[in-house]
């Protein structure tokens, strides 16, 4: 995947670029808003990672200009500004996701993954499937290997989010943001408890586990064999 990184802190940029390259991506970088905008408009990228505070041209402005030029590359904002209002500003300017510094690299990778998948327009699905687990979005029912699974509404949304991002790492923060719509750090890891209850419902009593914990990162739902 081609990724554009626009970040003025050179050391942060170096780690970001190295990390992304190690993860197998092709990375271009820019250290200011103008160069970033020129690159974004001249080459196709799968994802752009843009710092909000940039020299020459502010990150918000870069994205606003990209959108004005009908450039639809998914944008992940990086920012030291953590206030909810800053987040809203970023998303309003045309950003697709917002990550506050300091961030965990796995969190960044997981979000990039999620953004790239979002780009390929999916047919409106009414059914999600991972292995022998099926989720019917119309009837709001779940079943595994033909057996119905009784889910609470919030558990359903949790499972839906995981299945929409099947075979991708989904972090706790992403779950809290998408499923509960909250942007803060709970002091204790309440998300883990929700996941373990969900796991008890979908994996208990079956030979293969679908819901996996990714150490130091979050969770992933995937079939035992790579889905065809």
């Amino acid at each position: 995947m081609r990724i554009l990184v626009v970040e003025d802190d050179l050391e942060a940029q170096r780690y970001l670029v190295n990390g992304l390259k190690e993860a197998g991506h092709v990375v271009d970088d820019a250290a200011d808003g103008e160069t970033g905008l020129t690159l974004a408009l001249s080459r196709p990228y799968d994802v752009a990672i843009i710092d909000r505070m940039l020299p020459k041209l502010d990150g918000l402005k870069v994205v606003a200009d990209m959108r004005e030029h009908s450039n639809t590359t998914p944008v992940l904002f990086l920012s030291a500004l953590s206030e909810v209002d800053d987040r809203v500003k970023g998303l309003k300017a045309g950003g697709d996701d917002y990550l506050t510094k300091p961030y965990a690299f796995v969190e960044l990778l997981a979000r990039i993954d999620a953004l790239m998948r979002r780009r390929s327009p999916q047919a409106v699905k009414t059914k999600l499937q991972v292995g022998d687990l099926e989720l019917d979005l119309l009837t709001r029912t779940a079943q595994r290997a033909g057996a119905a699974i009784d889910l609470q509404p919030r558990e359903f949304r949790l499972l839906e989010y995981l299945m929409r991002h099947a075979s991708q790492v989904v972090t706790r923060t992403m779950l809290l943001e998408s499923v509960w719509e909250y942007h803060f750090d709970p002091q204790t890891n309440v998300i883990d408890v929700h996941i373990s209850r969900l796991r008890a419902k979908i994996d208990k009593g079956f030979d293969t586990a679908l819901l996996h914990t990714v150490r130091g990162a979050g969770y992933m739902i995937r079939a035992a064999r790579p889905a065809a």
Partner: protein, 460 residues
Amino acid sequence: MRAPGILRTQAYRIVLVYVAVFAVSVTALIAFTYWNTKRALDAQTDQIIAAEIAGLSEQYQQLGLRGLADVVISRSAHGGPGLYLLANRYKQPIVGNLDAWPGNGQKPNSFVDFDYQRRVENQFETREARGRVFALAGGFNLLVAQDVHERYLTERLFTTTLPWTVGLVLLLGLIGGALMSRNMLARLDQINRTSAEIIEGDLSRRVPMSDAHDEFDALAENLNAMLDRIERLMKGVREVTDSVAHDLRTPLNRLRNRLEAVLRHIDPASNQAPEIEAAVAETDQLIATFNALLLIAEADAGVGRGKMAPIDLAPIAEDMAELYAPLAEEKGVVLKIDPAGATMIEGNRSLISQALANLVDNAIKYTPAGGHVSVTALDTPLGVELRVADSGPGIPPEERPRVVERFVRLEASRNSPGTGLGLSLVAAVARLHDARLILEDNAPGLRAVIRFPRPAPRAR
């Protein structure tokens, strides 16, 4: 300004008291003038009478009864205010312009007020007079008096118009007071409106000045100078938090990046791996503390005060109870949400959610298995409240004011995870909303209440 509103204001009350004092003073002043004038006039009358008597008694001594009678006749003929009557020892009239001796004129050498009849164009008229009885040697009696009818008429007119005068003074005073306080209130209202807008978050507002250069302008000028200063300070605080955020987060970001990079490149089975993982965890703890401190500073600086919206507390309480339910269940604590009433407030949903999450988190953390925690959003006479009550060990009353301070953790809980900033953040969020964080005894356990002021109906 509506008229009924004016009547309740301090300015109008002052005017009322002033008008009352003014009316009493005016009445007293008029009465004093009246009585004084009357006394002076009475004294004057008495002096004239005394002088006449002195003259007449001299005539009597020199000319005898006949001479006195001649003088009395000649004086009576003048038709002036002077009244005379010479009588024998039985008070039977001899000469004079009075028809009869007054009934109360029996005591010699005393002043008497009496009525007499006077013929005016074939009609008799009763008039008032004041005179002095004088006993002459030889048993004769002389009465010398003055007609005071005109003066009585004036006095009567005076006493009948006095209440009307006072009434008029009161009426004019009230109207003048209303106009005056209306003018004053308009200025005060302007100052109040501006302050309300500033409290709502628009720090750029200023109190308008008039051309009068009066006390109100002096007040407005001082307020505006104060506001300039506050705005400058707030801007300073915001700039500091922003740059602290940026300048501290950048190195923290690098630190975390480096640790992660090392972690990616070493063998997970090596000895160093757990050490570096622990270092990452420490970094995350540092970041969490830093974030909480920054959030407290921002809340105290009033960042986001201008962006408050009407929100309902009940769904937030339900959300938080739902989010923490599995955690409570896992710990063997019963978490229940109590039914709520009308719970609309003006606020920042994200901050209030975080504050409530901190309270619920604490309650579950400190409540032993088998205990219970309840979350309530409710409307009370004192305000709209969010309550989190638990059956844990509680906080001793003397410790309660201390636990909301930054980094304060009670000895017993020092080993459990946390930054020591949870309750400080709750208190800061409460302050931002003009709310109060109240820690009470739940007998047993702790009851934490965030009491929000009832949202004022928007007057605009």
